[in-house]
Symmetry: C2
Subunit: 336 residues, 2 copies
């Protein structure tokens, strides 16, 4: 099932894998991590889908580059905080990203825009199968794959989608939907992962547990829920356009006005306003902008990308000024 | 002394007068009020400065027209709530407005744009002198002119100026300035008179008491304070442009953006944002708008004027939509 309604921003699948008889990174010493990292690098180099990947060592990467990778959802905060012996392997299209020595020895991830869970699962499964031929993964017949955190034991699979739920938010219906998902074992997080707020009404929806279910079972269950939530969101948008059209037009108009004229802007405000524009594009009100322009601008407004774009390290105040300037340039004159 | 810095929006002088041996309006019956109103109308008709005035009876005026007069500061809430036997005499340029049977039998007022206290005092003094020849005012040798409220006994004179104190507000220095004025016996009120908030950073500054001082003493004291506050405001603006220029530009930019793009707007928000634009004009940042266009727009966004302009009675929601539309039309494309 593919669905391009603007509600599902991206899909992601990841597998947690560990090498048998090597300590989990949290308990291993630096030397052990560095040794394993070298071996894993070699194994990853032979995986067909990873041909031509970059291999980035956390011990030598500068802080701004780590920020950029975090903002692109290629690495976690936890990996960024690690040094020598931890690394990222990433394909040039960023469709596959493998974290080495994060919480587990390997976190295999595949990412795709839109609702493509089957596709990302297939990719990550191929990478896993190829690696399995070279590496001896820690596996128990009773539990499945072992992992540093019990929540990842079993399939080690987490599938997630990033959803843009502006309609539900504007209709004040987001809370019950999130609570409903939590009740049936679905985790809902903010844009920037675990423990973060839902900037820009963007929510990351994923399975909670990976134990006692098959991979296909996990995928089917999440697909079902995501489809239901997407339908709720579409309904909310339709009802907004019916009963509260002027308020939607007002929100979108104000977002345009501020984005086009502000001289100082926080990263949070930029994401929130750009998210409203995104809704405006989805429902056909904002005409001369594309969703990809919005996505690009959202990325550029985040601290790491912003500093990379400007070419130097900036103070928070300088970032807020640069952000407002870049937003004005990127969006130009928005017509509604 | 005349000063056109944009800080003082308008000046006003008013005298409270009552006819001897006639009950104050609050205690008089309707019949007595109507009788006196007729006599006062005749007397006012002979005053040279009031030649060609409109005479509007509160008993027949419709509610929207009363709103309009209130918004133009020509009548008080109290007069608007009265009916037959209370009235307003107003010159076509709105420079002189006499409330008949408000709290007192007569409230003679002269109003002028900018800082013109001497001028408005002179006008109101002339009207008073001419009336004094026809009417027998309640006067005590010991107390001066008598009035319904003790605070108006004495000269019956209140002089006030409307000040635009955005600079002090943005520098967070408005509170001590207001407290300082209160301490030395100066009343500070919001835009819409007694008990109202300071919409749009506009403050009405006036003498508190009218007893035990000469008219010239009251005027001189207020002039001195107004000049001091105006200087404080100018200093605040200069410091803002020095140290916080980007924040001023940001505030003005955001105000422009919202005013140009919002589809729903409350009266309070309109005044607040237009007040920021006004500051932008005063300090030379907003180029293609005039202060008089801002003033006109502020008036038009108030409920009475808005309904008069649209030509029908509107619900609050309809007003908020009409207001946003009118603001967009009036301001056009603001360039900074």
């Amino acid at each position: 099932m593919k669905q391009d309604t603007g509600v599902v921003i991206s899909s992601r699948a990841r597998l947690a894998r560990n090498v048998r008889n090597v300590a989990f990174p949290e308990w291993a010493g630096e030397e052990e991590c560095v040794k394993l990292c070298g071996e894993l690098r070699e194994a990853l180099g032979n995986v067909s889908l990873l041909r031509g990947s970059l291999f980035l060592d956390m011990g030598t990467l500068d802080p701004v580059d780590k920020e950029v990778l975090k903002e692109r959802h290629l690495i976690s905060n936890e990996l960024a905080e690690r040094g020598k012996g931890s690394a990222l392997a990433v394909t040039s299209d960023e469709g596959i990203a493998v974290m080495v020595n994060e919480e587990d020895h390997l976190r295999l991830q595949a990412i795709s825009p839109g609702l493509n869970i089957a596709d990302v699962w297939e990719k990550v499964n191929i990478v896993d199968s190829e690696l399995d031929r070279k590496l001896d993964f820690a596996f128990s017949d009773r539990l499945g794959y072992l992992a540093a955190c019990p929540s990842n034991v079993g399939t080690g699979l987490r599938v997630s989608v990033m959803m843009h739920l502006s309609g539900l938010r504007l209709m004040n219906e987001i809370e019950p939907v999130i609570k409903g998902m939590n009740r049936i074992g679905v985790a809902v997080r903010g844009l920037l992962g675990e423990g973060t707020e839902a900037y820009g009404n963007m929510f990351q929806v994923s399975n909670q547990s990976t134990l006692g279910e098959t991979e296909q079972g996990i995928i089917d269950a999440l697909m079902k829920i995501v489809s239901e939530v997407a339908t709720h969101e579409q309904n909310a948008r339709a009802r907004l356009m019916e009963g509260k059209k002027i308020h939607i037009l007002d929100q979108i108009g104000r977002a345009c006005g501020i984005l086009m004229r502000a001289m100082v802007m926080s990263s949070r405000e930029a994401i929130d306003l750009l998210s409203i524009l995104r809704l405006g594009i989805d429902i056909g009100i904002v005409k001369n902008l594309t969703v990809s322009r919005i996505n690009e601008t959202i990325l550029l407004t985040q601290p790491g990308h912003l500093q990379k774009f400007v070419g130097k390290v900036l103070s928070p105040q300088e970032r807020d000024e640069a952000r407002a300037r870049i937003v004005r340039q990127k969006l130009g004159d928005i017509s509604i």
